[in-house]
């Protein structure tokens, strides 16, 4: 819904257009959850939230650390003497100890195989802010970035809304395991040139959201050489780096550039955040790490628009420089994610639901093609609405991720406790069980509601933003 004439003249185009992506029909899932949220005792029949990629598995470790380290807070008796210095500190370079700790942490997450320079670390308002910031530095309005599908829906807002940039999807599909091929990149690049679009770079997410997989070294090298060759930027969103729970081991682009001959480092940039790896998206810790000096310089000035609260910087400087804690946390985090992942996978396997094999992330990429009447996006959405309203699980349909083939769904598993996982699996089992018992050709789940939407819906900016317009936090309800 684009607002009427009056608003359009009074306000800017950005304020009145749709490019924030929140008017998409995919918010049905959020609305259904919010109207009827699952609670083990108060509302056991409610909708279970499986559309939120949150990591809730390791809070106890962090809480324990906070309890044992009162100095890390500027509000405790032990830390109060730091209060005024920290409260007063708004230097956009960020606290030195915070940057040192972040560089150290990022290195540890990558097994110590690469070192990060604290002077290149820029702060921003979460990965959301970081992604927008890097685009403001690299692209002008009208320029384009290539992006492999499927991709995180929020990118449309983060990379394009206020920057005026556009995205060129580079499609992959299950026939070759959603690999990003050189051919696909070349073809997309060529087409863009023919259409007179100025391609400034390629952006990838590694580990991938929504696939939950890590890129192998050869693929990464080929991405580096492709972008180097075309003299365009390579932005690597590595916010799930510490959620890798099984082999193959994680390879960061920062490692690869050490191995590529004559690598044009000034074209490489990394986006990081603590929202997924550590599980505190509320603290808004986003990082832009660039190998390009000019970008670091300019980006630092831009970070004024989204600095990390000095209170948070101070706490994290302490936490992340605690070597023992970090080692223990990373190990335990992986272990718990693996356990949760395996439990969920087993449950799906029991009803012959296949999923894309994954070794990272907070979700799995579930294959429900067999439940589609026709292999169309229309049917995918119909199935999705049934899953929300009848099975009562909020999952994310592949079309919202710009997936090129229908039938895939992203299901999050790290944002709930074990019991809820069991309940979710039971519901899935019951639903699939009902479906598979039906004679072929007759699917039970014909929705009662008439759904009217165009088949081009999946081309729209489909966003399921974590910053949902619908408050769901107990902190909101509590007040």
């Amino acid at each position: 819904m684009v607002l009427g004439g009056k608003s359009q003249q009074l306000l800017s185009k950005i304020a009145t257009n749709d490019k924030h992506g929140e008017n998409s029909p995919y918010f049905d899932g959020w609305k259904a959850y919010d109207r009827n949220p699952f609670h083990p005792t108060n509302n056991p029949q409610g909708v279970i939230q499986m559309g939120l990629a949150e990591n809730q598995l390791c809070f106890d470790l962090i809480e324990e650390w906070i309890r044992n380290n009162p100095k890390a807070s500027i509000c405790t008796p032990e830390g109060l003497h730091q209060f005024r210095n920290i409260a007063n500190f708004q230097d956009y370079h960020g606290l030195q100890e915070f940057r040192n700790a972040m560089a150290n942490f990022m290195s540890k997450v990558r097994g110590g195989r690469v070192r990060f320079d604290p002077e290149r670390i820029l702060m921003s308002g979460g990965a959301t802010g970081a992604n927008e910031l890097i685009m403001f530095c690299l692209a002008d309005p009208g320029d384009a970035f290539m992006i492999p599908t499927p991709f995180y829906p929020g990118f449309v807002r983060d990379l394009c809304w206020r920057t005026g940039m556009q995205l060129i999807p580079v499609h992959s599909d299950s026939s070759n395991n959603f690999k990003i091929t050189r051919e696909a990149l070349e073809a997309a690049y060529k087409k863009a040139k023919e259409d007179n679009i100025n391609v400034k770079g390629l952006i990838i997410t590694n580990p991938s959201n929504p696939l939950g997989t890590t890129l192998d070294k050869d693929t990464l090298k080929s991405l580096v050489s492709f972008t180097n060759e075309k003299n365009i930027h390579l932005v690597c969103d590595e916010i799930y780096a510490a959620t890798v729970f099984s082999s193959p081991n994680y390879v960061s682009v920062a490692e690869v550039i050490q191995e590529v001959e004559h690598c044009k480092r000034e074209l490489i940039h990394v986006i990081y955040s603590l929202s997924k790896d550590m599980g505190f998206p509320g603290f808004r810790v986003g990082i832009v790490y660039s190998f390009n000096d000019e970008v670091v310089n300019c980006g630092r000035k831009m970070s004024s628009f989204g600095l990390v609260s000095s209170q948070t910087q101070h706490m994290l400087a302490s936490m992340l420089s605690d070597e023992n804690f970090v080692t223990r946390f990373l190990k335990e985090n992986s272990r718990r994610l693996e356990k949760r992942h395996d439990k969920f996978m087993k449950g799906l396997e029991e009803v012959n639901i296949t999923r894309f094999p994954s070794n990272a992330g907070l979700f799995c990429w579930m294959n429900l093609k067999s439940l589609l009447k026709e292999p169309t996006f229309e049917d995918e959405l119909k199935l999705w609405r049934v899953i929300i309203h009848e099975v009562k699980l909020n999952v994310s349909p592949g079309s919202s991720f710009n997936c090129s083939e229908p039938g895939w769904f992203r299901v999050c598993f790290a944002n709930m406790d074990d019991e809820t996982v069991d309940i979710a699996l039971n519901r899935i089992r019951a639903f699939v069980g009902r479906e598979t018992k039906k004679p072929l050709g007759m699917k039970r789940w014909q929705p009662n509601l008439s759904l009217s939407f165009s088949s081009r819906m999946f081309d729209e900016t489909a966003v399921m933003s974590p910053h949902s317009p619908i408050p769901t936090s107990p902190l909101v309800r509590a007040t």
């Binding site: 405790t76 000035k301 989204g306 007040t479």
Partner: protein
């Protein structure tokens, strides 16, 4: 093909100006009572360091907040996960109550119309993104905060056209000046989307009068599609009469409850100046315009306030007794400091614009210029930085139309340091007066200074200041 964006390679961020010399010199040679008593005293930083002890003592009495606890129970998990861009309701409620109290409870604010942002820097930019774009401009009275050049123009593409204000009427906004600015914008082919004022003013330290505010509301009512943004981040620093009158009070007084002008007036707030917490990045936009609130809320995703900080401040500001006590005591201390600066400068034969708010004074040193030019102002400024050892802000960096005015901060140092600064001023003026009488010496001094003078035109300034 250019490798980076235009924004990355231009200097609209304003930080390349030679004005930064002062900052750099301070960094190289910072005053320290013990270790570097001859160093440069920082008087260019509009920070409020006077009342930390009040905040600290509150924290001592409220240990639960420190440990992420509420009623003894840990809420770390909920806070860690809380990224809802609507903000923590308890924090917004405390914030609007605080804002209402600062305005003597003559106006109230609806927490559903507040958008939280990462500091006023982000609030101002976000509002610009919502209200203006390339080819459009906002009118700003001069002198104004140098950071606006970055915050309002850099990434948004919008323009600023100055409303020239003069010392002859204490830099108040007049109707002819307003209209002249509007015409100037039209000549430059810019569509004017509104006026932005800072009230209380930075750098003047004065509160806007009712007549000025009414003039502005009349003006935007007269034109179509024009907004009025009132940056009220210093509203809690008003320490003497006349009191603070917010634009919201004016709107209420005009009794135009159903008037659509309510949709075009927006307030910016922050806790960086009033509470002295710039590091926490707490800014806010307040608007009765639902579309603006909706758009700005989505945009706030790019710079939300840390949930940890929201929680701490919701408890602190939610403590009614504390915030009343704090506000009163803070203002009392500011008044004292202000008086100290004004009388200290008076003893040096330097006067200030009469002011009743802010963390600084607008100081008149026109009589110390050897000519009524900005070059002379720069010369004087460099003398004060290098020879006198005081980093103050030249009026040209604030786009002032008249040379010779300087902003001098008084709330970011100890009383002793301020005392020392006053002594240095006095000594400097005494010396200058002596030197002026013996011209060969004076012209020698002038020659040795000119090597420091950079070529600056009064219009072509890119000014920046990290902190206001």
């Amino acid at each position: 093909m250019r490798l980076l964006s235009t924004k990355a390679t231009c200097n609209s961020h304003g930080q390349d100006s030679s004005y930064f010399l002062g900052w750099q010199e301070y960094e190289k040679n910072p005053y320290d009572e013990v270790h570097n008593p001859k160093g440069i005293i920082q008087m260019g930083l509009a920070e409020n360091q006077l009342s930390f002890d009040l905040l600290e003592s509150w924290l001592e009495k409220n240990p639960d907040v420190a440990g992420f606890k509420r009623d003894g129970k840990s809420i770390f998990r909920e806070l860690g996960l809380f990224q809802d861009y609507h903000g923590l309701p308890s924090f917004k409620k405390a914030l609007v109550d605080f804002m209402a109290e600062i305005r003597g409870n003559k106006v109230t604010f609806d927490p559903n119309h507040i958008v939280l942002t990462a500091g006023a820097t982000s609030a101002n930019e976000t509002l610009m993104f919502c209200l203006a774009e390339q080819g459009e401009a906002f009118l700003l009275p001069t002198p104004y905060y140098p950071g606006f050049d970055r915050d309002l123009k850099w990434r948004t593409g919008a323009e600023i056209v100055p409303i020239q204000c003069r010392s002859s009427n204490n830099f108040q906004i007049t109707e002819p000046a307003l209209r002249e600015a509007y015409e100037e914008a039209r000549k430059r082919n810019l569509r004017v989307k509104g006026v932005l004022v800072t009230n209380p003013s930075n750098p003047l330290g004065t509160t806007m009068s009712r007549s000025e505010l009414n003039l502005l509301v009349d003006f935007i009512k007269e034109k179509n599609n024009m907004h009025l943004i009132s940056d009220e981040i210093y509203s809690g620093t008003v320490f003497s009469s006349p009191g603070f009158v917010s634009v919201m009070e004016i709107l209420k007084e005009r009794n135009d409850v159903a008037d659509e002008v309510w949709d075009r007036v927006h307030v910016v707030y922050s806790l960086s100046k009033d509470l002295g917490l710039p590091g926490f990045r707490v800014g806010a936009i307040y608007s009765e315009n639902d579309t603006v609130v909706a758009a700005a809320t989505k945009m706030s995703s790019f710079g939300l306030v840390s949930s940890q900080t929201q929680y701490l401040l919701s408890a602190m500001l939610g403590d009614k007794k504390f915030r009343r006590n704090y506000t009163a005591e803070n203002q009392r201390r500011l008044k004292r400091r202000h008086r100290m600066l004004v009388s200290g400068l008076q003893k040096a034969g330097i006067s200030c614009l009469e002011s009743n708010a802010g963390l600084f004074c607008w100081v008149d040193m026109r009589h110390l210029l050897h000519s009524n030019t900005f070059e002379a102002e720069m010369e004087l400024w460099k003398k004060i930085v290098y020879k006198v050892g005081l980093n103050i802000s030249p009026g040209s960096s604030c786009h002032c139309t008249e040379p010779g005015w300087f902003r001098v901060c008084f709330a970011n140092m100890s009383e002793d340091t301020l005392g020392l600064a006053m002594k240095r001023f006095k000594a400097f003026v005494a010396e200058s007066t002596c030197t002026q009488r013996t011209s060969p010496l004076f012209s020698n001094k002038r020659k040795s200074l000119t090597k420091w003078v950079f070529r600056l035109s009064s219009r072509d300034h890119h000014r920046e200041q990290e902190e206001r």
